[in-house]
């Protein structure tokens, strides 16, 4: 079963090649670090500045994970309600879509005005962007249970609770996990974007504030270092959920089958 993923050699080679080319161009042309730092310079800056960047990393991580947790709780609960009642769904779904399609950069300043605590405001912003994919996917998932299996459950007198636990939840799981993978990345984007909108003020601040600060001081290598941390967080979130999906689905779902 481990053969599903192609060997990691190719993607790693591509990333290495890009970094090497970047390094080579910067050195060959003598591009100054305040314009475009070489990867080696970014790495060394990251290492030097790590003590000052780590608290920000931790803060961004807290906002992201917190918002994602809220999105899972809210999205799944609302999806369950929608699955039980089409009427409630048609009444509330447009609202969810409005939240989804309005750019978070445009709403963030308002939220920052109305919500006193900046941390809470950031949480709300990240929640708004992470919420929709979980809701939409889980609704589809709960509805996707096989029609004959539903009849079978009816034939053998299943209770509502049995139907939910033994049929609807397992049917929805692959859809939910796909939503979770998208929402994980979006929660991070929401956390960073909202912090940009909030500005660098406040004592407890995340990686976005470090990037802003560094940009005011034209510390370009530090901007890249903080940016690299944001990317690493995103990659880590994706990897965690990808592994989770593989673990939960590998024995039965087509999406996780090994290539024949």
């Amino acid at each position: 079963m481990s053969a599903r993923r192609a060997s990691p050699v190719a993607p790693v080679a591509v990333v290495l090649a890009v970094l090497l080319a970047w390094e080579a161009i910067v050195r060959a042309r003598g591009i100054p670090a305040w314009l475009l730092p070489a990867p080696s310079r970014v790495a060394s800056t990251l290492w030097q500045d790590l003590p000052s960047l780590l608290p920000s990393l931790w803060f961004t991580l807290k906002i992201t994970v917190g918002a994602l947790a809220l999105a899972v709780i809210g999205g799944v609960s609302l999806a369950a309600v929608f699955a039980l009642s089409r009427r409630v769904e048609s009444a509330l779904f447009p609202l969810a879509i409005v939240l989804q399609v309005t750019p978070i950069v445009a709403i963030a300043p308002l939220i920052l005005i109305y919500v006193e605590s900046t941390t809470a405001a950031l949480l709300i912003c990240a929640f708004i962007v992470a919420f929709f994919p979980i809701l939409a996917n889980t609704v589809v998932g709960l509805r996707s249970a096989d029609a004959n299996l539903r009849e079978l459950f009816a034939l053998y007198g299943a209770t509502r609770w049995q139907r939910l636990r033994l049929l609807l939840v397992p049917s929805a799981l692959p859809y939910f996990l796909a939503g979770l993978r998208i929402a994980g990345g979006l929660a991070l984007i929401g956390a960073v974007v909202a912090e940009f909108a909030a500005g660098a003020a406040g004592r407890e601040t995340g990686l976005a504030s470090r990037i802003l600060e560094a940009s005011f001081r034209t510390e370009i290598p530090r901007m890249f270092a903080a940016l690299a941390l944001v990317s690493l967080v995103g990659i880590a979130i994706f990897a965690v959920f990808d592994a989770l999906a593989r673990r939960l689905l590998r024995r039965w779902h087509d999406s996780e089958l090994p290539d024949a």
Partner: protein, 250 residues
């Protein structure tokens, strides 16, 4: 095996079924099922025979007439597709009907193993459906229907999607199970040959609206095998069923 005199186990009296979209699927359908018989409902797609089966199972209510079923009747149902839960092992799939009654895994282990043994899947309890062939999945589905020791086994074109060799083998296995456990079987099919080969009685369906146009009693003794397929009586019954179908669907 002459069930007509006994009280029927199940019966449809003047049953009509009109769907919300206006299609009259069944009209004036009379059908009674005697204990221990193997009844086939024979007809082309869309003639209402599956609807009749769903009425017998209690999965739908007729819009006219009555369905006579005894209180607490335990039906076993096999769909055209295996209809297994892909996320559950063979064991968990087969134990589902018992689980829905509130019985735990340990309490039903013997029953589930026995049902799997009956369909020749003794060693596959821990496999997942996708690890099995189409024929094996269908066997799991039959085991799941048998595990409740049903009063009547209802099958809706169960082998239609299988290749002919597998289908013939499963026909024989089903017949052996029916014989060994004195089951009552209602079998929906569009194959004249399958219907005559398996059944003690064949109800030929006419379409639009669906009703029984002819009933053919197949008296050949069981167990049946290739000898029966070569028997002139088999050919005669097949010709008669085909003629009835042609007349009803001209």
């Amino acid at each position: 095996m002459l069930p007509s005199t006994a009280t029927p186990l199940l019966a449809l009296d003047a049953v009509g079924m009109r769907f919300p979209n206006g299609v009259q699927a069944l009209d004036g359908l009379e059908l009674s099922i005697a204990r221990g018989e193997f009844l086939s409902l024979l007809g082309p797609s869309g003639c209402g025979k599956s609807t009749a089966l769903r009425l017998l199972a209690g999965l739908a209510r007729p819009t006219a007439g009555t369905v006579r079923r005894p209180e607490g009747l335990r039906p076993g149902f096999v769909f055209q597709e295996p209809t297994l839960m892909p996320w559950a092992t063979v064991f968990d799939n087969v134990r589902l009907p018992l689980r829905l009654k509130g019985l735990g895994a340990d309490a039903v282990r013997e029953d589930v193993d026995a049902a799997l043994e009956q369909v020749g899947l003794g060693g596959f309890a821990r496999a997942y459906p996708r690890e099995l062939s189409g024929g094996m999945r269908m066997r799991v589905s039959i085991a799941r229907a048998l595990v409740t020791r049903p009063d009547v086994l209802l099958l809706d074109e169960p082998f239609a999607a299988l290749d002919e060799i597998t289908r013939g083998r499963l026909d024989d296995e089903l017949l052996a199970l029916w014989h060994a456990h004195r089951l009552t079987v209602v079998f929906v099919t569009h194959s004249v040959y399958e219907a005559i080969y398996l059944s003690t009685r064949v109800a030929v369906f006419g379409a639009r609206p669906g009703r029984v146009v002819e009933t053919i009693r197949v008296d050949a003794p069981h167990p049946r095998g290739d000898a029966f397929r070569a028997d002139p009586a088999y050919a005669r019954d097949c010709v008669r069923a085909s003629a009835a179908l042609r007349a009803a669907h001209a």
